[in-house]
């Protein structure tokens, strides 16, 4: 139905604050694109610019081959699901969904057919006469989705639609959104700060930070080869362990690659062992804390020597602390000295400022 292309898109507020500093994204027809990043990174602003709710101060937004910078939201053929749903509180569920169609002058019979079809898909049929305040959070969320799908737009825009739901419902709705999007095959852009939502929903993942794109790509590819230390620590929970390569102990193990600057190892890539794999890295740790979640256990250990880490990144651990994920619930006791190691292929090397990935 439609591609969405952002070409060097910028947003500068009248006060001079630059919220979006030149973003290039290309979302193919029917693809599900997720914008993810910490709060204040500009992801919502970018989405609202695509929706037409914020002006574009530089670059071009292209929907279905047409530049829409100056087009009113209603004429962009998009539908948006808001974080707080933004349902009209005085209208019934039916009218909430029908409102946009009526404003377009659609015939009542057609409106009825579309709304009833959407209600059937979203299991809202028994609630069409109710007001939004008589619905639960999950149902309101579905009405907001319904309002979007009856329009049969070229593009769906989602602005953190699940963040007001409880954890269980969030997972259920996440799956529903994905199924629905696959079935309708409508190009979608979805904003979230939850990296798990981002990983599970996205065809294309766009990791943003400070108004800029850090990395674009397939979610798993990004997970396996993060381009910067920001992406490395933002994608994946618990975050990747990042440490300076400066201490002699690490430098000697890495050999020539020791000049890279920052070494990253994901918690699940460590094994507790006395051996040092060839070309890999082994670290002695003292167990500080244990978190058992059933299927897996997180071991928090501290490194012996003082290691001031270089990159300041969100979700970062105190310097010198390492998280190790081990399967099952067996774990060494607190206070015990252990040795963990990771093989060469699982090491991530970054330049000293964390902005570039170095392939060893």
């Amino acid at each position: 139905m439609a591609n969405v292309t952002l070409r060097n898109v910028r947003k500068t507020y009248p006060g001079g604050f630059e919220a979006i500093k030149g973003v290039n994204v290309d979302v193919g027809d029917g693809q599900f694109c997720v914008l993810v990043g910490p709060s204040g990174c500009g992801k919502s602003t970018l989405l609202r610019m695509v929706a037409g709710l914020e002006t574009v101060t530089g670059g071009e937004i292209d929907i279905g081959g047409k530049v829409v910078n100056q087009v009113e939201p209603a004429d962009r053929d998009i539908a948006m699901v808001f974080q707080n749903y933004a349902l009209y509180p005085h209208m019934s569920v039916f009218n909430n969904m029908a409102y946009g169609l009526r404003n377009r002058g659609m015939k009542e019979a057609e409106i009825k057919a579309r709304v009833e079809e959407a209600a059937r898909v979203l299991e809202l049929a028994p609630m069409l006469d109710r007001k939004p305040r008589q619905l639960s959070g999950g149902q309101r969320q579905r009405v907001a989705m319904g309002r979007a799908i009856v329009r049969q737009p070229k593009v769906f825009l989602f602005d953190e639609p699940l963040s007001n739901l409880d954890a269980k419902l969030r997972i259920a709705m996440r799956v529903e959104i994905r199924k629905l999007q696959r079935r309708l095959n409508t190009t979608s852009i979805y904003v979230t700060h939850d990296q798990l939502e981002a990983m599970t929903l996205a065809d294309i993942l766009v990791v943003m930070n400070g108004g800029q794109v850090e990395q674009i790509g397939n979610p798993l590819a990004i997970y396996e080869k993060p381009a910067t230390t920001f992406v490395a620590s933002f994608i994946g929970a618990p975050p990747m362990n990042l440490m300076s390569t400066r201490p002699d102990e690490i430098k000697s193990q890495l050999g020539g690659a020791g000049d890279a600057g920052i070494l990253g190892i994901r918690p699940e890539d460590f094994v507790i062992t006395d051996q040092t794999p060839a070309g890999g890295v082994a670290l002695p740790l003292t167990v500080e804390a244990i978190e058992r979640v059933g299927a897996e256990t997180f071991v928090y250990g501290s490194r012996q020597q003082d290691d001031k880490r270089v990159a300041a990144t969100p979700g970062e651990l105190p310097p010198g602390e390492i998280i190790v994920r081990i399967p099952g619930s067996e774990a060494p006791p607190i206070g015990q000295k252990i040795r963990v190691a990771a093989v060469r292929q699982k090491l991530h090397l970054f330049s000293g400022d964390g902005r570039t990935r170095i392939e060893a």
Binding site: A51, G52, L53, E72, P73, A74, I78, A79, M80, F82, Q83, N84, Y85, A86, L87, Y88, P89, H90, Y99, G100, N103, R104, R133, R147
Partner: protein, 282 residues
């Protein structure tokens, strides 16, 4: 509420009953006096029990009027008051909701100065600007007309302020959702903002209707003809007689009649009124 034991509870109830008596007694006296013979009242022999002249007094009051200073039937005065109060209440709500909409939802040059100018008029009640207002109304030949009675009182900073505060609590997403749904500014106002303001409008209507109904100074100034006078002015005029006896039963009956419409409005709109004052759900 805290349940109190025996004695203390009786004390509390007695205090409350005394309070009610103080408020209600004058009303009771007015009702009783309106059913008695004028001669008895004039002699200072008024009984505190209802007399037997209820129907004749009220018939005369409503359809005939007093035989003295103003001979206007009270029905006509009530009609004048009603038209004025409704014009003021509805006019104020209509004007102020539109100006509040403009101030909150549109970005135009001098938006804040305009808001402050409206705000400042709060400090200029009718009493302060009465001479220039009278001059304008007189020059426009609006003396002794409903327009002259209501128009100068319609502009309202208070109501504008109230709607402004309410509009600012309406989530922006509703406006954005409307924009995406293809609703222009007028449709958003009509389809979303007005229905949401319903309880606020009701609360304001009650307050403004009573305010309009009780206007005294302004109608006193600009109405000269008896058939244009409002009930509040009528009561005053009835009491002033030069050499005849004041017809107290009729004065009292008029006072009782003057109380009825505000009471009716409050009772009829009580539910909406309370919801308008306390409602937080959007």
């Amino acid at each position: 509420m805290v349940e109190q034991e025996g004695f203390r509870r009786y004390v509390a109830h007695i205090v409350l009953w005394i309070g009610i008596a103080i408020v209600a007694f004058p009303v009771y006296v007015a009702i009783v006096a309106s059913t008695q013979d004028n001669a008895l009242i004039a002699n200072g022999q008024m009984s505190l029990l209802p007399g037997g002249h209820f129907f004749e007094v009220y018939y005369q009051t409503i359809f005939v009027g007093t035989s003295g200073s103003t001979r206007e039937p009270v029905a006509n005065m009530m009609l004048n008051s009603l038209v004025m109060a409704l014009l003021i209440a509805v006019g104020k709500i209509a004007i102020s909701i539109i100006s509040a909409y403009g101030i909150v939802y549109f970005r135009f040059p001098f938006r804040m100065p305009i808001f402050w100018i409206i705000f400042i008029t709060l400090m200029l009640p009718v009493e302060v600007r009465i001479y220039p207002t009278y001059k304008i109304v007189a020059d426009l030949h609006m003396l002794d007309s409903y327009a002259g009675l209501a128009l100068p009182l319609i502009a309202s900073a208070t109501a504008t302020l109230l709607f402004r505060q309410f509009f600012m609590t309406v989530p922006d997403e509703l406006l954005e959702a409307s924009r995406i749904d293809g609703a222009g500014p007028l449709r958003f106002f009509w389809d979303t903002l007005l229905p949401l303001s319903r309880t606020n409008m009701a609360a304001l209507f009650v307050i403004l209707f009573i305010l309009g109904w009780n206007q005294y100074l302004w109608p006193l100034l600009i109405t000269t003809r008896d058939d244009m006078q409002t009930i509040q002015i009528g009561i005053r005029k009835m009491m002033t007689t030069n050499d005849a006896l004041t017809e107290w039963p009729i004065v009292m009956a008029t006072a009782v009649l003057a109380m009825l419409p505000p009471v009716f409005v409050v009772v009829a709109m009580q539910k909406l009124f309370v919801r308008g004052l306390v409602e937080t759900e959007k």
